[in-house]
């Protein structure tokens, strides 16, 4: 099947080349059958890459180690779910995933717009196929997922233990879906700029794809944070790591875009801004993909240097140059049809929000690339840590949260001070009451920024609740519906608006979790023997007893801990350090200690609650076992050299397993001091809850209104306006 896969990649390349030619030829000559043929090239690409993907997945599922990528990233003992997800843990598989997802989304948009934006679509098709050709070329010539070895190993290397987590397996497809969806508005913007068709149609056809890109990338970011918190042994969810930032930057820009396009749709304003923003988002999406693979920045995620940095840089340079050139050349056509009527208007709030989001993206961009910038300027690499990022992102984030409450309550075009007083009186009162209660009842005063965030979040939630209440009441009055029915009808009728309000509420909740957990966290890092205790905030953690589990794939040395509050046991936590065999050693090297010196992994003991999380991670040092391990290694190396028959091999393996088990059991029988990282963190769960609420809001906003409702709305207005046309003597 591998030759078939390789052939399919070559076919895909030809399809891309043909499609680009056909689309451009059709657009330039007005021979639209060629443009349609170019569109169909995208469908054909989707077909071909789907088959290629299925071949790759099948190879992983049946553990076909003749495929190099399967041998390097899977094994016969890898669980089936992780076998299915293992393709995208590799460079090769992830490149194919990129192309596949892109071809699917591109096929969808081009199918949906086959009778619309007929002048723009061919150029957009060419751009999308250009991206596909780039990634397919990388997969074909630099990192081929269908490369094989003449001699297939009997067993694969297996998946990195850090990736054996559900979040980590869903995280990459979410991120790639986000990145690939963001290329769609980018491509249509390029098409609109080339053709000069800079009305709102290209925006209206790509808006949902921009929103879907926002949704998927956001889910990917939150899943990555969740994985970091529950799987890595440091107890945090965000470290301003370059690869985390690489996903955040396009997400911030697309957030700005999906707000500012409303202004262009309604008022014909911000055309240059929107075009620049969506182009920047597309560039940042490719930049994010590049950062993960190039190794140019030091990151816990920077997966080593690869040969792909050069081609990516060339593509990014082309995208930047092309985008700037097009926007500058079309600036006359991008002139605004209207101007800002008033600073007290939703347009002004959206504009301010856009500026703040772009400022956030710039701060993150600057901090991320600063090591390279400083090296170019001063000759020495400078790195910026979380305190620098927090200095700028925290105040800007506070402004974004504030504006997410103000925006929905302020009218388009102009709002009067009297209307603002009516709109904001109740939410401001809620915010003030929240601040007062927190000041009186908690120690929030010692963290003024966190307190500000809590008050702002209360403001936002009150604004959203007020909007829902007033909207449902107004609809109920007009349509004669009961309030609950009116509320449901209101949301169904205005999914974009109220889905967006739900997103605002979700983000506010998420920030509450972030502010509380980062400002009021208690951490203790200490060494404990069984029976010893450590204080963490108002809780006491006690190391009760050690645990040992010896399995074929790993050895787990752990601890059971009891947590007490005011002398009463409130929780039991189990944490462990898992040791995987070292697969890099030769057959005669470290026959016993190899089972303890491979990739370790921390199993965090986590008790998550609505008010606080208790988190424990143990690191069991192997130093007390070292002399025994060295002795047994020498003993078994000699035995290994004297093996001559299969029967003796079986006896050797049995003896080896007994020794490994007995060494592991020493931790249970005579436990020594282990290092613990213990954390009590308030309201962490609200980060995940906020993410879920925001995702639900995004889905609601994304969902198309029922066709009948759309037709009814249009028909009603048409008839009213038609009457007026007649009355005005048209």
């Amino acid at each position: 099947m591998a030759p078939a896969g390789r052939t399919l990649l070559i076919v895909a390349l030809f399809i891309c080349g043909y499609g680009i030619f056909a689309s451009l030829y059709g657009a330039r000559t007005g021979r639209w059958e060629w443009a349609d043929s170019g569109r169909r090239a995208v469908y054909a690409l989707a077909l071909v890459t789907t088959i290629a993907w299925v071949i790759l997945e099948a190879a992983f599922l049946r553990s076909d180690f003749s495929f190099n990528v399967v041998a390097a990233h899977s094994s016969t003992t890898t669980p089936t779910f992780y076998k299915l997800a293992a393709p995208w843990s590799s460079q090769e598989g992830s490149l194919l995933l990129w192309v596949w997802l892109m071809s699917l989304w591109s096929s969808l948009i081009l199918f949906l717009t086959r009778a619309r934006v007929r002048e723009i679509a061919p150029y957009a098709t060419a751009v999308l196929l250009g991206f596909a050709a780039f990634f397919t070329s990388l997969a074909t010539f630099f990192a081929n997922p269908f490369a094989t070895s003449a001699t297939a190993p009997a067993e694969g290397a297996g998946l990195d233990p850090l990736l054996l987590h559900p979040s980590m397996m869903i995280h990459p497809p979410m991120l790639y879906s986000g990145y690939t969806l963001m290329t769609i508005p980018f491509a249509f913007a390029i098409g609109a700029l080339i053709t000069g068709r800079l009305g709102s149609e290209w925006i209206s056809v790509t808006r949902r794809f921009a929103l879907a890109g926002w949704l998927f990338l956001g889910i990917g970011i939150v899943l990555g944070a969740r994985w970091s918190y529950t799987e890595l042994g440091w107890g945090g969810y965000w470290a301003w790591d370059p690869v985390e930032n690489a996903a955040l930057m396009p997400w911030l820009c697309i957030t700005a875009f999906i707000h500012s396009i409303m202004i262009q749709e309604k008022r014909g304003m911000l055309k240059v801004w929107n075009a620049s923003l969506v182009l920047a988002t597309g560039i940042l999406a490719i930049l994010g993909t590049f950062l993960v693979r190039s190794g140019i920045l030091d990151s816990i995620h920077a997966f080593g240097a690869s040969t792909l940095g050069g081609p990516f840089l060339a593509l990014i340079a082309l995208m930047v140059a092309g985008s700037v050139g097009l926007v500058v050349s079309r600036r006359a056509d991008l002139r605004s049809e209207h101007h800002l009527d008033s600073l007290l208007s939703r347009e002004a709030v959206f504009l301010l929000q856009n500026l703040v989001l772009v400022a956030l993206a710039f701060a993150v961009f600057w901090g991320t690339f600063f090591p390279l910038i400083s090296e170019a300027v001063t000759g020495t690499k400078h790195s910026l840590g979380p305190p620098w990022y927090d200095r700028y992102t925290v105040p800007l984030a506070l402004i974004v949260v504030l504006l997410s409450g103000v925006g929905p309550l302020i009218a388009w075009r102009r709002a009067t001070p009297a209307n603002l007083r009516r709109a904001f009186a109740a939410p401001l009162a809620v915010a003030a009451a929240t601040a007062v209660v927190l000041l009186v009842a908690t120690d929030a005063a010692r963290r003024p920024l966190a307190l500000t965030l809590f008050a702002l979040a209360a403001f936002v939630l009150a604004c959203v609740a007020q909007e829902l209440w007033r909207g449902a009441r107004a609809r109920g009055a007009i349509a004669g519906e009961a309030l609950p029915v009116a509320l449901v009808a209101l949301v169904r009728r205005n999914r974009r608006r109220y889905g967006g309000y739900l997103v605002h509420a979700g983000i506010a909740v998420l920030f509450v979790g972030v502010a509380a957990s980062s400002s009021f966290q208690h951490v203790n890092q200490t060494s404990l023997r069984p029976g010893q205790t450590a204080r963490v905030g108002s809780y006491t953690f006690r190391f009760d007893r050690p645990t040992v589990a010896v399995q074929a794939q790993k050895i787990s040395l752990g601890a059971v801990m009891s947590v007490f509050e005011h002398g009463r046991r409130v929780q039991t936590l189990r944490t462990a350090r898992e040791f995987y065999p070292d697969t890099t050693l030769g057959p005669f090297q470290a026959p016993i200690s190899r089972f303890f010196t491979g990739e370790p992994e921390t199993q965090v003991g986590l008790n998550a609650g609505l008010t606080r999380d208790m988190w424990a991670a143990v690191d069991v040092p192997l130093t007390p076992l070292q002399s025994a391990l060295d002795f047994r290694d020498r003993q078994f190396q000699m035995a290994l050299r004297e093996l001559t028959t299969k029967r003796r091999l079986a006896a050797y393996i049995q003896a080896r397993d007994v020794v490994v088990d007995s060494l592991a059991q020493r931790w249970a029988q005579h436990p020594w001091a282990a290092d613990f990282r213990l954390i009590v963190s308030p309201l962490v769960t609200w980060i995940w809850i906020g993410g879920i609420i925001a995702a639900a809001g995004g889905l609601i906003a994304l969902w198309p209104a029922p066709v009948a409702a759309r037709r009814r709305a249009t028909a009603a207005y048409r008839s009213r306006l038609g009457r007026e046309l007649a009355e005005s003597g048209a």
Binding site: T7, L8, V11, I15, Y18, G19, G30, R31, W32, E33, W34, D36, S37, R40, A41, Y43, A44, L47, V48, I51, R116, V117, R118, E119, R197, G199, S200, E201, S204, E265, K266, L409, I410, A411, W412, R413, R414, A415, T416, A418, N419, R422, A423, E467, R470, G471, A474, I478, N494, R497, A713, T714, Y717, R718, L721, G722, E724, L725, S728, A730
Partner: protein, 95 residues
Amino acid sequence: MLIVVAVVVLVLTGPLRAARASRPAPDRPAGAEAADLEAARDAKYREIREAEMDYRTGKLSEDDWRAIDHDLRAEAIEILRRLDRVRDRAAAPRG
């Protein structure tokens, strides 16, 4: 693999074969302008509805709403007039 390639070739060449069979192409330039105007019309209708909703939820006073609504409906009428002119031009016999 040959089947896949054959299917791909059939898919790609479909429109080309249809064009050779002399099915008339749609009037592209007029269609594009009409599509732009339809998008603008739909956006204007949304604005009109949202302005009414803003009034009913207390963000706008009645006077402000009536003024804005009047402007929006005038803009919508202009769009409808332009749309009708474009459609009339597209439907007019050529030559």
